[in-house]
Amino acid sequence: MGRDLAHLSDEALVALVARADDAALAELYDRFGRVAYGLALRVVRDPGLAEDAVQESFLAVWRSAGRFVAERAKASTWILTLVHRRAVDIVRREQPRRADPLDTAPVATAETTEEEAWLRLRRTRVQEALGQLPDKQREAIELAYYGGFTQSELADRLGEPLGTIKSRMFVGLARLRELLVEPGLEEKQWNAQEFTS
């Protein structure tokens, strides 16, 4: 008891989780549980289902942490990838006819703590990047990611050819990545990945 995990990196915590360290999982939850819940709630738009998505995702982290260790991805990316996938699975199962997710996005809570200020800053940055995309690219990405719509559902919904949707998603997400990841870092990572693949 009382072991201080706060100084460890996210990736080091995942390595401990791979060795069945439940305190490390608790620390990861303390770092990302809130963002995970916010994302799940945005997608499934039901508090109970959002809890299910977060619970299943952290159990998946617990079971598959051993396979993460060798990878170059950030732990936070990995965790949110798991959360998003579970949330999308749930929303497709539970709500075959979805309302427009952009109309019903949850309202931000009053944010006072330091953690909340940091989350708000990060959110502003992403929203600014999204704002730099052409409207139709942004729409395709937001409806896919936050709404859980597949490409063909989007093509039907927007009355556009499937190829157009595919293209918008690719170009938009590539641009978003350029905007959100520091250029120097980006170059280094791409090069490193070429050697390890």
Partner: protein, 218 residues
Amino acid sequence: MERTGIHELSAAYALDALDPADEQVFEEHLSRCAECREHVAAFHEAAAELGHATPAPAPPPQLRDRILSRVRAQRGANSAPLRPRWAFRATAAAAAVAASAALGLGLWAASLRSQVGDRGQVIALAGAQGSLAVDPDGRATLIVAGLEPAPIDKTYEAWVIEDGKATAAGLFKGGGNPTAVRLTRRVQDGAVVAVTLERAGGVDQPQSDPLFTTREPL
């Protein structure tokens, strides 16, 4: 960035926005295309940024307790040794499977795994390094490390074996690191999945011994 044809699907894959049929095709492609694996990793990073952009109300405090108590319960269960209940011949395995293949399961494989969900199963293979992931509805993905590409006039063929009967469950070429294949048939309790090497185009019934199988029935 290559963005023509199937490569273009890497963005939608990272957004979890592929239709099921496209997803199956793309995952198979991903097992062979290093460039797409890079793109998916990069796109997952961008998508995770979107995940950070949602308003984040605090989750109910009991969620943390529930997750941790489930994890502690699972840890108890995991320490029990698995009992191999099925022995299947794996004669030609050594010829087809590289001895020391590293399991390069990437971020995309984690997302495969997450599809299996809480009630799914992951079963190790006998005769090869890898596993079969089965979701609660019986949809199964086979992941094998170090599987050499099938010779030009041959194909790998997956089989679902139930009650002593083998049913064809898909053809694949191998050669990925790892190779990931979504089976075309669902897998029920008690079934075993096996892979044989057959003539190109596939066959209705296995004509050769299995190269590898699931270690035990579902």
